[in-house]
Amino acid sequence: MAPEALFYVFGAVAVIASLAVIGQRNPIYSVLLLIASFGALSGLYVLLDAPFVAVIQIIVYAGAIMVLFLFVVMLLNAPHEDTDYDERVHPLLRPGPMRFGAALAVALLAELGWALTRGETGDFGTASVPSVAAIGRALFTDYAFAFEVTSVLILVAMVGAVVLARRDAPGGR
């Protein structure tokens, strides 16, 4: 099959699966559809001649992160969204966060529209994505600052999660 045809197959799977993620009533199916979407994205990376990025996409997103998502969904035993299990309004459903979410959605749409109408095309035909060694070198020289700052950010998030999750904190509730 020609690469163009494969592009449309992977693209269609990615778009349809992503849209279906928000249409599910059962969060487990949402997680699985998101994995399918990541898998399709990984296929697109292979078509772009970037096998390393494709495999990392599977390992990090489809493998590690989504397993944690699945864990959270299963362990919290997240109820089907259509059950009327609790009459108290969830904090995220109060007017403030709802407006914030709507604002974010508008911003996303505006950005997408801006990016799509600029008419800029990247040239992926000639330049193949460099080898693993080149990626590593770039990551630790040109992008060292961004790389390190990101890891500090993740560390902060991790510490925050531990603090929030600890129920028996001394002097706490």
């Binding site: 487990i28 699985l32 096998p51 390393f52 599977i58 390992i59 590690a64 699945l70």
Partner: protein, 341 residues
């Protein structure tokens, strides 16, 4: 159709059938070796020396009724064994098991004994291993049974914990070989030092090999790390509610995963198809012998060591194996940097 393409297709089918039959051989081996270790006879009635026992097992499984709990999620319940089996087969696709061959001059160009020569093969294996967790988690969840759910959670927690050490052990080999392609890594191990020490990576990376094997046993959920199936606590873990062929799929996946882990260990640490006495074209005999030895070790271990406790397993994974793997990686990196690869 070019001869090379035809050869490729035949090779793919061959690997598929070989993996299926390796599972059958493993079932027989496991029962025979277990029996020998316990001073019993093991299967001996079906066929000569009980050799047809695996076929009898499969036929029995095929004729069993397919049961599904009423409260199970029908779609995911059916999907889970498929994910497990597919992931198991897919991982072997990037494993090379012999040098290039022309099949006795039958085809003009050399055919690699590897279904797909990917230049990031090691990472592909790692990626597929991380996908196989879903089969087990979903089986546990969709069965809607307490034992299944606990088994599924346990085994996925175990696989995630040991995947880190597994990956770090792989990384230390990659540093020494300076390549992500399994074929390159194997070819790096050709020849000997001082005429008799084989240039296998197990010699330069003994700690890496131990970490890889330990994590590999945990990844494939084998004894002494077989918590998902701890029958005293969890009946049969994630596949408690499965019967007939969908149970057989999990069984198949477990054995094929063992074969893949052993084959990758052979390629990474034991020199793949390189060995003395045999010409390069017969290297696959060495490969088979090495994989067979590791598999025998697996079975031997299962009937020798008692199962750990779950908290011991977690403590060992995070507090012993992971730091050890990190130190091994650091030492290897320093060694490669200062001594050259």
């Amino acid at each position: 159709m070019t001869p090379l393409l035809f050869g490729q297709i035949v090779l793919t089918l061959f690997v598929f059938v070989a993996l299926l039959s390796s599972a059958a051989v493993m079932v027989y081996m496991e029962r025979k070796v277990a029996a020998m270790l316990q001073q019993r006879l093991g299967p001996y009635l079906v066929g000569p020396k009980g050799l047809l026992q695996p076929f009898a097992d499969v036929i029995k499984l095929m004729f069993k009724e397919e049961l599904r709990p009423l409260a199970a999620d029908p779609f995911l319940f059916a999907l889970a064994p498929i994910i497990s089996a597919c992931a198991a087969f897919a991982a072997f696709a990037v494993v090379p098991f012999g040098a290039e061959t022309t099949i006795f001059g039958w085809i003009p160009e050399g055919l690699r004994l590897q279904v797909a020569d990917v230049n990031v093969a090691v990472l592909v294996i790692f990626a597929i291993a991380s996908m196989s967790v879903y089969g087990i988690v979903l089986a546990g969840w969709s069965s809607n049974s307490k034992y299944s759910l606990l088994g599924g959670l346990r085994s996925s927690a175990q696989m995630i914990s040991y995947e880190l050490s597994y990956g770090l052990a792989l990384a230390s080999v990659l540093l020494v070989a300076n390549s992500l392609s399994l074929t390159d890594i194997v070819n790096h191990q050709a020849g000997t030092w001082l005429g008799f020490i084989p240039k296998w990576f197990v010699v330069v990376q003994p700690v890496g090999f131990l970490i890889y094997m330990t994590a590999g046993i945990a990844e494939t959920n084998r004894a002494p790390f077989d918590f998902p199936e701890a029958e005293q606590e969890l009946v049969a873990g994630y596949h408690t509610e499965y019967s007939s062929m969908s149970f057989a799929m999990f069984f198949l996946a477990e054995y094929i995963n063992m074969v893949t882990v052993s084959a990758v260990a052979t390629d990474l640490f034991l020199g793949g198809w390189h060995g003395p006495f045999l010409p390069a074209s017969l290297g696959w005999i060495w490969f088979l012998a090495k994989v067979g030895a590791i598999l025998f070790f697996y079975i031997w271990m299962r009937w020798t060591l008692p199962r750990y406790r779950y908290d011991q397993l977690m403590r060992f994974g995070w507090k012993v194996l992971l730091p050890l793997a990190v130190i091994n990686l650091l030492v290897t990196a320093a060694g490669v940097l200062y001594l050259g690869a």
